[in-house]
C-alpha cells in the first residue's frame, strides 16, 4: 500500500492514506465529527470550511476539507459555522415592480457600494469564483453578469466571513439570482399546464392502469429467521 501522510487537524496529529481528503482523514482519525461536515466529497454543501497551511508555506488558504487531499505536513483548522448576527432582510414580493431593481439592491445591500476592492472574497472563495466582480456587477446593475458569477456558489459563506465591509457577497449574489428568476422566469409550457390543471381540463385517473393489467412485481425472498 502507499505510504502514510502525517498532518495536523485542529491540533490532532493524524496519519492518513495519501489518497483521502482532509475530511476523510479527520473522520478516520477517531475524532468526534458532528459539525463542519455534510456532503462528504461532492463539494456542494459548503459545510467543511477550513484553513490550510501547507508545509513550508506562509500562506494560509481557505478551502473545503472534502475537496482537498491530504499532504504531508499540512496544518488544518476547521472554521465553524454560525448564524450571522446580521442578515439582509428582503421580501421578493416587494420586487414585483422590477423597475425598482437598482434601488432595491441598494436598499437591501447598502454595504455593497462600499466595496474597498481588497479581493479578500476572491481569495477566500474555495470555488475560485470572481466574487468581487460579482459584487461590482450587482452594484452597477449588470444583473446577468452578477447572476453568472454566483451561479456555482455553494453558499459556504467564506466570502461573508472575509468581507471587511459586511457586504455578505454570496447573499447579495443569491438575492440577484433569486430576483432574476422570480421576476423574469415565465415558461410558457408551465403556464399552459397550470391553466389546464386549474380548469380541470387535465387530471389523473387513478383507476388506470387497472390493477389486473399492471405487471406483477418481482418476488421477494422470505424474511430471514435470524438477524
Amino acid at each position: 500500500m502507499s505510504e502514510t501522510v502525517h498532518l495536523t487537524i485542529d491540533g490532532r496529529e493524524i496519519a492518513a492514506d495519501p489518497t483521502v481528503s482532509i475530511l476523510q482523514a479527520y473522520a478516520q482519525s477517531g475524532a468526534e465529527l458532528t459539525a463542519n461536515v455534510g456532503c462528504m466529497g461532492q463539494g456542494v454543501c459548503g459545510s467543511c470550511r477550513c484553513m490550510v497551511r501547507k508545509d513550508g508555506e506562509r500562506q494560509v488558504s481557505t478551502l473545503l476539507a472534502c475537496e482537498t487531499r491530504v499532504e504531508p505536513g499540512m496544518q488544518v483548522s476547521f472554521i465553524d459555522y454560525f448564524l450571522p448576527a446580521h442578515v439582509h432582510h428582503y421580501d421578493l414580493k416587494d420586487l414585483h415592480d422590477s423597475w425598482g431593481m437598482l434601488d432595491q439592491i441598494r436598499a437591501v445591500f447598502p454595504e455593497a457600494e462600499h466595496c474597498r476592492h481588497c479581493s479578500g472574497c476572491d481569495r477566500a472563495c474555495p470555488k475560485g469564483l470572481p466574487v468581487q466582480s460579482g459584487v461590482a456587477f450587482s452594484v452597477a446593475g449588470d444583473i446577468a453578469a452578477a447572476a453568472a458569477v454566483f451561479d456555482q456558489c455553494v453558499m459556504c459563506n467564506l466570502c461573508t466571513l472575509a468581507c471587511p465591509e459586511n457586504i455578505r457577497p454570496n447573499h447579495l449574489g443569491l438575492f440577484v439570482r433569486r430576483s432574476v428568476a422570480a421576476l423574469t422566469l415565465r415558461p410558457i409550457d408551465l403556464m399552459r399546464r397550470l391553466r389546464e390543471v386549474a380548469s380541470g381540463e387535465m387530471s389523473v385517473n387513478v383507476t388506470l392502469p387497472r390493477v389486473e393489467t399492471a405487471t406483477a412485481a418481482p418476488r421477494l425472498a422470505a424474511p430471514a429467521q435470524d438477524r
Partner: protein, 536 residues
C-alpha cells in the same frame, strides 16, 4: 471471489469511434431484480417483532434500530431548556425547509431543528432535476403511470396522483421563491423549460438547473427560511426522542444542543418530521451517495411513538456511484450523464442494459455483470464503465453547461472524460419506504406529520429520477400547511416520554436487547456518543 477483468484490459476492449454492441443475454426485469438486486436476496429482510409493523418485513440493520432502546431517560429532562412553539420541524433539508416556510407564511410560529445546519441534506446533493409534466407531449397521467410502474405498482395511487398533480404548481412556487430553471431557448418571455429524459419515464419530464438542481433549490430554500419571519433555527440540535401526550399523540420533541451540550425540550402543537433517509447505515456494506446525516433517525423516533411504516425492506441503489478512486467511492454520478447519452460498458466493452431503464433495473444489471465476471477491477475497486466520451466529443461545451458537476467530478477522479470512462458501481441512494402518510403528510400518530424521504408509499419499491425533489416540495408544503392548521387548537400539554416506558416493556417482553440505543444521529465513524458527551 468472482473473477474480474483488469482495468487495463477493459480499456483495451473499448472500441474507439464505434457504437458499443449490446449483449444479447438480457434477463426479464423481474428475473434480473430477483437474482441481482440487493433488495430481493435472502439477507434483505427480517420480520419486525414489536411496534406498529410487527410481523412486517424490514431490512435487518434497520430493524435493529427500530427495535432499540431510547437514548434518554426521564431524568435527562431535568434541567432541559423548555421551549414552546406552534410547529416544530425536525430536519433542515428541502422538505423541512418547505414545511417551515409554508407554515410560517400561514402565521404559525415555527422552530426548525437541524442536526448539522439548515441545508445540510440529500437535497443539496441532488443533481439530476425535478419531474413535472409540463410538456405538450406529456401529461399528469403519464407522470402518474410512470411513477406507479417505476415503483412496481406498489406505490399509493392517491399519493402519487396528488404529487404529480401538484408538480406544475410546485415549479411555480419554486420560481416565485427565486429558483432558476434551465430554459430550452434563451429568451425572457415565451420560452419553454428545458426537459430531460429520465430512466423509466415515457416523456422528457426532468426540469433542472444545470446538473446541480438540488444545490440551486436548497440555497434558495435556505435563504427563504433565514429571511422568513416567524421561524427560529436551532442548528446542531438533533432530535433524540419525541414527546408524547398520554393519548399517544405527539407533543413535541427532545433535542440535544451540541453547542451548549444540553437537552432542549420543545413543545409543539404539530411536529413535522423531515429527517430524510438512511444511506449512512451502509446497508449490506454498500457505499452511499447520501449526506453525512442520513442515519434513519426519523424512522426510529416515529416508530417508537407508534407510527405505521411501509416498505422498510426497499432501498434504492443508484446505478452509477463512483467506484474509483477509492476515496470518492459512493459519490454520485448523476443520472443526467446517462440521460444525456452516456453508456454503460462491461469489461468486454459491451453495453448490457438500456441505460434509461429504472434505477433498480440498471443497478441490478451492473451487479450482474460484476457477479458474472465481466466487471472491471482497478486498485481493489470493482465496477463497470460509464462512458461519456462520445457525448463530450459531440458537444464539447457540455461540461461547462449541462454537465458542470460531471466535469468537476472527473477532475476530482483525475480523469479526462473525453479520453477515459468512469468506473462506477451501485451506491446506496434512497430509502423507498418509510412512515405511512396521508395526502397532508399526517401519520397514524396524531400531531406527527412526515415529509420527504422519511415518509413512504409514494415511490413504491423504486423511485424515479427527479421524483424525490418533487416529493419533498409537494409534501413539505402540504405538511407545513396542515401543521399550521393546528394553530389555535388545544394547547399542547406538558408532554413526556411515557411512550418510551411502554416501548421498554415491549422490548423486554419480546426479549430484545435494552442496550442497543437509537437514533444513531451520526454514522459510526462520527465517533459521537450522546451519553458520554452529555455526562461530560
Amino acid at each position: 471471489m468472482t473473477s474480474m477483468i483488469s482495468h487495463a484490459q477493459a480499456l483495451q476492449a473499448l472500441r474507439p469511434g464505434a457504437d458499443a454492441p449490446m449483449r444479447a443475454d438480457g434477463l426479464a426485469v423481474n428475473d434480473l431484480l430477483e437474482r441481482f438486486h440487493p433488495d430481493y436476496g435472502a439477507k434483505a429482510r427480517v420480520s419486525l417483532r414489536i411496534g406498529a409493523n410487527a410481523g412486517a418485513p424490514c431490512h435487518p440493520a434497520l430493524a435493529g434500530l427500530l427495535e432499540s432502546n431510547a437514548l434518554i431517560d426521564d431524568l435527562d429532562l431535568a434541567g432541559a431548556e423548555p421551549l414552546a412553539t406552534d410547529v416544530l420541524v425536525i430536519g433542515g433539508g428541502g422538505a423541512g425547509a418547505a414545511a417551515a416556510v409554508t407554515a410560517a407564511m400561514r402565521g404559525a410560529r415555527v422552530i426548525i431543528a437541524t442536526k448539522l445546519r439548515i441545508g445540510d441534506s440529500n437535497t443539496v446533493m441532488a443533481e439530476g432535476g425535478i419531474q413535472a409534466a409540463v410538456g405538450a407531449d406529456d401529461s399528469l397521467q403519464r407522470h402518474y403511470e410512470d411513477t406507479l410502474r417505476g415503483g412496481h405498482n406498489e406505490g399509493d395511487r392517491a399519493l402519487i396522483a396528488q404529487m404529480v398533480s401538484d408538480a406544475p404548481e410546485v415549479i411555480r412556487w419554486l420560481i416565485d421563491l427565486g429558483m432558476a430553471f434551465d430554459l430550452a431557448e434563451d429568451k425572457a418571455l415565451g420560452s419553454t423549460l428545458l426537459r430531460k429524459k429520465a430512466g423509466g419515464t415515457t416523456a422528457s419530464r426532468i426540469l433542472c438547473h444545470r446538473d446541480f438542481t438540488g444545490l440551486e433549490m436548497m440555497r434558495v430554500l435556505r435563504e427563504a427560511v433565514e429571511l422568513q419571519r416567524g421561524i427560529e433555527q436551532l442548528n446542531r440540535c438533533p432530535a433524540v426522542e419525541l414527546l408524547s401526550h398520554d393519548d399517544g399523540s405527539c407533543a413535541g420533541a427532545i433535542l440535544y444542543d451540541l453547542e451548549r451540550r444540553s437537552f432542549v425540550l420543545v413543545r409543539a402543537r404539530a411536529v413535522v418530521l423531515a429527517t430524510g433517509g438512511s444511506g449512512r447505515l451502509h446497508l449490506q456494506g454498500f457505499p452511499t451517495s447520501n449526506h453525512y446525516g442520513a442515519t434513519a433517525d426519523g424512522l426510529v423516533l416515529a416508530y417508537r411513538l407508534g407510527a405505521r411504516m411501509c416498505d422498510l425492506d426497499s432501498f434504492q441503489y443508484h446505478p452509477t456511484g463512483v467506484a474509483h478512486p477509492r476515496h470518492l467511492a459512493g459519490g454520485l454520478i448523476s443520472e443526467s450523464a446517462r440521460s444525456a447519452g452516456a453508456h454503460l460498458l462491461n469489461g468486454l466493452g459491451e453495453r448490457f442494459v438500456d441505460e434509461l431503464k429504472p434505477r433498480d433495473v440498471v443497478a441490478a444489471a451492473i451487479l450482474r455483470e460484476c457477479a458474472e465476471g465481466r466487471g472491471i477491477a482497478r486498485d481493489g475497486q470493482t465496477g463497470v464503465f460509464l462512458d461519456a466520451r462520445a457525448l463530450v466529443a459531440a458537444d464539447p461545451d457540455i461540461l461547462e453547461t449541462r454537465l458542470v458537476s460531471l466535469g468537476h467530478l472527473a477532475a476530482k477522479c483525475g480523469l479526462d472524460p473525453r479520453q477515459e470512462p468512469f468506473l462506477v458501481y451501485p451506491t446506496l441512494h434512497y430509502q423507498n419506504g418509510g412512515v405511512m402518510i396521508d395526502g397532508d403528510g399526517a401519520t397514524s400518530v396524531p400531531g406527527l406529520l412526515c415529509a420527504g424521504e422519511v415518509s413512504g408509499g409514494i415511490h413504491g419499491r423504486n423511485r424515479l429520477m427527479g421524483n424525490a425533489l418533487l416529493d419533498i416540495i409537494s409534501f413539505g408544503r402540504r405538511a407545513g400547511t396542515r401543521a399550521a392548521e393546528s394553530l389555535g387548537q388545544r394547547q399542547a400539554g406538558r408532554g413526556g416520554i411515557n411512550h418510551v416506558h411502554r416501548w421498554r416493556r415491549a422490548l423486554a417482553q419480546a426479549e430484545l436487547p435494552a442496550d442497543v440505543r437509537a437514533p444513531l444521529l451520526y454514522p459510526s465513524y462520527g465517533n459521537f456518543h450522546l451519553r458520554r458527551t452529555a455526562a461530560a
